[in-house]
Symmetry: C2
Subunit: 308 residues, 2 copies
């Protein structure tokens, strides 16, 4: 019994090291994939790099890589898909931070793109990062099987479009202006769309790359769904308790802006219990996987313990 907490601490250290290693590999891939800072329009290229490289936990990329590991996908394929997901995520952050949206000055401890450059550049950077995500997935270098590439493009688009991430952002904006607070079902739907769908896709992408059967593919998708929901609660708890320095962005904004969060509805205690329940469910979806899923299991535990 006495070994358990130590083992858990070991797993946590192993996870952190693996995530840092993966983030650095993904940064290298982003460096290779994104346009070099040259030519007349180099400030666009520079800002695309600024918005995606060298910062952030790259959780979504990690999910792609670890999902891919379950099916023995070639590292180069997995890294390209992981980089594409980070481009998509980066685009959403750049546009989310715009004055007309959340109007944020700080992101990952650095000025947001529209602060470091200007608003027009930030709009174009987000637009181009989205495009580049699809260009990356569709290119023959990502996988020799065009059916895999087309499926990756389709599922990423479904996860991030009007009925996915962007739809969720629209609901979020509307919630801020609404007079009546959202109920639990409405908040759940909003967050499932806004952040959940892309995390779900990230977990599923490895199975698509590995041409996995529907069974294991669905297990990863469901794992991603629970992890995504737990991650959102953890993010809200962090916003409540962490300092801006720890989080690398403005914190305590949610309560101030009357943001629709499960935390606001349930309170921190019940929200934390809910997140723990989600983590347990997430791990259960991995029951059919072998020891290669160790980092995915550790990640589930990590989600609700992180400080940034």
């Amino acid at each position: 019994m006495s070994g358990a907490p130590a083992m858990e601490a070991d797993a946590m250290e192993g996870l952190k090291a693996a995530m840092a290693e993966a983030a650095s590999e993904v940064d290298e891939m982003l460096d290779a994939l994104l346009p070099k800072e040259e030519g007349e329009e180099r400030s666009l290229f520079a800002a695309m790099r600024y918005a995606t490289m060298g910062g952030g936990k790259k959780l979504r990329a990690f999910l792609v890589l670890e999902g891919a590991r379950q099916f023995g996908v070639a590292r180069h394929s997995a890294l390209r898909a992981a980089a594409a997901v980070e481009m998509l995520h980066g685009y959403s952050l750049v546009h989310d931070d715009l004055p007309a949206m959340d109007n944020d000055d700080l992101r990952r401890g650095k000025p947001t793109v529209h602060r470091a450059w200007d608003e027009a550049t930030a709009i174009l950077v987000g637009d181009a990062l989205q495009t580049h995500a699809f260009a990356t997935l569709a290119a023959p270098e990502t996988h020799s099987d065009p059916a895999v590439r087309a499926e990756l493009c389709l599922q990423l688009a479904l996860a991030s479009g009007a009925r996915g991430m962007v739809g969720g952002q629209m609901l979020d904006m509307m919630a801020e202006k609404a007079t009546a607070p959202l109920d639990e079902a409405a908040i759940g739907r909003l967050q499932m769309l806004k952040t959940g769908k892309l995390i779900e896709f990230s977990a599923e992408a490895g199975a698509i790359l590995g041409r996995a059967a529907a069974g294991p593919r669905n297990c990863l998708t469901f794992y991603g769904r629970e992890i995504g929901a737990a991650f959102q609660i953890a993010d809200d708890l962090l916003d409540l308790t962490a300092t801006a320095e720890e989080a690398g962005k403005a914190t305590g904004k949610d309560a101030g802006a009357g943001k629709a969060t499960l935390l606001g509805l349930l309170g921190p205690e019940r929200a934390r219990i809910q997140a723990e329940r989600l983590v347990e469910q997430a791990k259960r979806h991995l029951d059919g996987f072998d020891e290669r899923a160790g980092l995915l299991r550790a990640l589930a535990d990590h989600v609700i313990r992180r400080r940034n």
Copy 2:
């Protein structure tokens, strides 16, 4: 000899009728593909429809459809690809019109999206339309061959991303702030990126759908390139001479804003001669095609004669 102008007038009438018919078919396809105006986030869906349906010449869609006709592509496939290109084009217009970009109030004779709704909605509408273009191309319904779908996604992304349309928009923004005017080569590059690449892709898409050999595919691509360049000059001439009512948008802005156009550099006479030369070259790329290319030939002639 005396029959030639009459034949030409007939061809022009035939083209106009065909373009109107195609635009209406593409609108039907957009109606089928875009999310219905229902649910909490219906204003997002409504604005996506507003930005793409029921207005505009749908030149790009027409190019897709007529390109596809050369290779006997199924109408349903061609219409889906045509609708996707119009979604992509619509997104670029919505973002281009934003206050931080061109700050336009009028588009196709109607208030721009950020005027009819608000800025945040316009940002999200553009984002979601881009995503939906890729979702449409990647879906199995567009073509039974996944290699065709992946190639369509890849080429659309290359045409519209940081090294295509968005790169061109960046150059355009920079040109407006620049102290020295651009030279002919720089303007040519700007316009090739900003509007040329997507028109080129539109002409090429039919060949991709038809799994055409490199030879005829390149002919269509080159045709699209010349048409695109001629179209840009015609657009600038129109901006100079047409009324806002005719054009459905603010005109005379280019000269006022010191916009970098070939027209500004060459003057109207030389610019018109240049456009006519491009039209002749465009038609020459169709020499190897049979009578099915009649509308593409007529379109080339039409480009520099249109009033809106």
